[in-house]
Structures are given as C-alpha cells and as structure tokens.
C-alpha cells in the first residue's frame, strides 16, 4: 500500500472547533499542503484574524500573530517588513477584510506588501452567529437582514467583489478566486494558493486568494446543501479564476 493523500505535516493533527462541513478546514489543509511542498514550515507565520478563524493558531504548526479585528493586513505589514524572508499568511474572513478592515486591505494591497492574503468568503458572519456580511448576496437572509439583504428600501448596500476591487490598485499582482465546494474546485484553489505563496517567496507582491466557502451552520443548511447553494448562488456573482495576474512572465 502506498500513501497517496495524508495529513499535511504542518497542520496540527487535532479535531478542530470548526463546524461540520465548514470550509476553513479544507482551506487550512490546502495552505499546509502548499507549505509542506515548498518546505517552508519553519519560516511561516500565520496571522489569525477575529472571526471563526481566530482559532487558526491552534491548527497551523508554526508561529502566529493575532491582531485586532480588521487590522490583520496592517499587522501583517509589520510582520512581513521585519521578516522579509518568511512566508506570512494573512488569513481573513469577510467581516475582517471587507467590513471593518476595508482600509487596511486596500492600502496593504496598494503598497504591494509581500504577504499573501487568504480571504475566506462565506457571505455571512460566522463566529458572531450569522449577521450580514459585506459579501452577503442580495435577498440572502441574515440575522441583521431578516427579510433578506435589501439594497433599495432598507439601504443595505450591495455585495462587494473584493478581487475586482483590489485589481484596480497599482500594488496588486496576483488576485485569484477559488472555491471549496467540489473536489475540482478544491484542487484549483490549491494551485492558486501555491502560486501566490511562490510569488511571495520570490519577492513579488501583493497577492491574495479569495475562496468561496460554505457556512452550513449560519446558512442553516446541511453541508451538502450548503455546497449546492454556494454553486448556484455565489459562483454566478463571484466569478472563479485568476482575476488579475501581472506576475513576472515566467511565473504566470
């Protein structure tokens, strides 16, 4: 018997606090697979945000820095500027990145900072129990949008397409959007993550991978249904693929 797919070395082998079917588990694993393949576990640093993935430091077997809500890219800037030869992973959810932290991600991206952004987009606030997120879809229900997100009468705004927003900034080089709802999408997402990490290690910035992820608990669906819902509702609006790639020719 030959082992084909096993537990990544840089991922802590412990049951996680994440809900059954949560996308964080898959994304954590993909990050660790890439780190193992690149052989950089001993010089990796994870920035764990506020949100469900506050717990990320329990699951990544390397150093971590936990910053105030939304400020993760600012703290990541400080870390990466001091540790330029380390792999710095700035892991954020949709509240951390696109609500309270909008200024920080825009300006870190615009400065072309060399850490890699991992943006987990599950169109809802998870940890705090299901409030509307900047990426919640029009008509989608949340505890703070009980009748569905309504941009017209209730002035609740429109869902933000982060990769496209950041693509306008001079400092951005690689912006990709993946999803973890099917094995094929999981594998593509892994490629995007690894490409972004390789760019960072080569000294190219700014790179970010947005990943559409299910939140079965707060969407109030079973995990299988949640992945269906993601495909039918999120993917038409949040297009998958490399949204921007102006990396050096050889790396493209």
């Amino acid at each position: 018997m030959e082992l084909v797919y096993g537990h990544p070395k840089s991922l802590v082998s412990v049951q996680s606090k994440y809900c059954p079917g949560c996308g964080h588990g898959v994304i954590h694993r993909l990050i660790c697979e890439a780190i193992d393949e690149l052989g950089v576990q001993d010089r990796s640093v994870i920035m764990n945000p506020v949100g469900c993935s506050i717990w990320a430091d329990l699951y990544f077997d390397f150093d971590s820095v936990q910053a105030p809500h939304g400020r993760t890219p600012a703290a990541a800037t400080g870390v990466k500027r001091m540790l330029p030869d380390h792999l710095v992973v700035c892991y954020q959810g949709d509240g951390d990145l696109a609500a309270i932290g909008t200024a920080e991600i825009v300006h870190a991206a615009n400065r072309g900072e060399h850490f890699t952004g991992i943006f987990v987009n599950n169109a809802i606030y998870g940890m705090t129990g299901g409030q509307m997120a900047p990426t919640t879809l029009v008509g989608q229900k949340a505890t703070t949008a009980p009748y569905g997100r309504d941009p017209v009468d209730a002035g609740m705004g429109y869902p933000i397409q982060v990769c496209e927003l950041l693509a306008t900034l001079g400092g951005t080089r690689y912006l990709a959007r993946g999803a973890v709802n099917t094995p094929a999408n999981v594998r593509k997402t892994k490629q995007y993550i690894k490409k972004a990490f390789e760019a960072q290690l080569r000294g190219e910035g700014f790179g970010l991978v947005e990943i559409l992820s299910p939140c079965p608990t707060n969407w109030q669906m079973k995990p299988g249904e949640a992945n269906e819902w993601l495909e039918q509702n999120m993917m038409p609006y949040y297009k998958l693929g490399e949204i921007k790639n102006t990396l050096e020719e050889a790396a493209k």
Binding site: E2, L3, V4, P20, G25, R29, T182, R187, P216
Partner: protein
C-alpha cells in the same frame, strides 16, 4: 474497474458532514449507523472494492479524517 485504492477514515476525527460521500465518484462511502463519541455519524467505507484512489474524499474533507492509499 480494478480496485486501485483504499480510504481509511478516522471515526473519531470525522464530524459526519458527509461531503466525502457526496464527492466519491464510485460510491465507496456511506454514513455509518454507529455514532462516534462526539455524537456524529461518521462516513464509512461500505464498498471498498470500488475505490479508485482518486482522492476526492480527501480533497473535500474539512477535518483531514481520511487517508487514501493506492494498492
């Protein structure tokens, strides 16, 4: 198709999300009748001879509860 692979599921690590069952192209997996100590009903290999070691189950498992071997 010749049996090429074998998935091993860590019952206690599994949270019973059953995404692996959904992802398996040859229907190797199904929910177990017996819950684990957390109260989850883990996935279970019920048709091992059908496994082709494609790794789809591993790819979608959020808990890395599955190890896949090639025979």
């Amino acid at each position: 198709m010749a049996n090429k692979g074998k998935p091993e599921i860590d019952r206690e690590r599994c949270k019973g999300c059953h995404l692996c069952i959904r992802a398996c192209p040859t229907k190797v997996l199904a929910p177990d009748d017996e819950p684990n100590s957390w109260g989850y009903y883990p996935a279970k290999a019920v048709a091992l001879d059908k496994c082709i070691a494609c790794g789809n189950c591993y790819a979608v498992c959020p808990d890395v509860a599955i190890t896949v071997y090639k025979l």
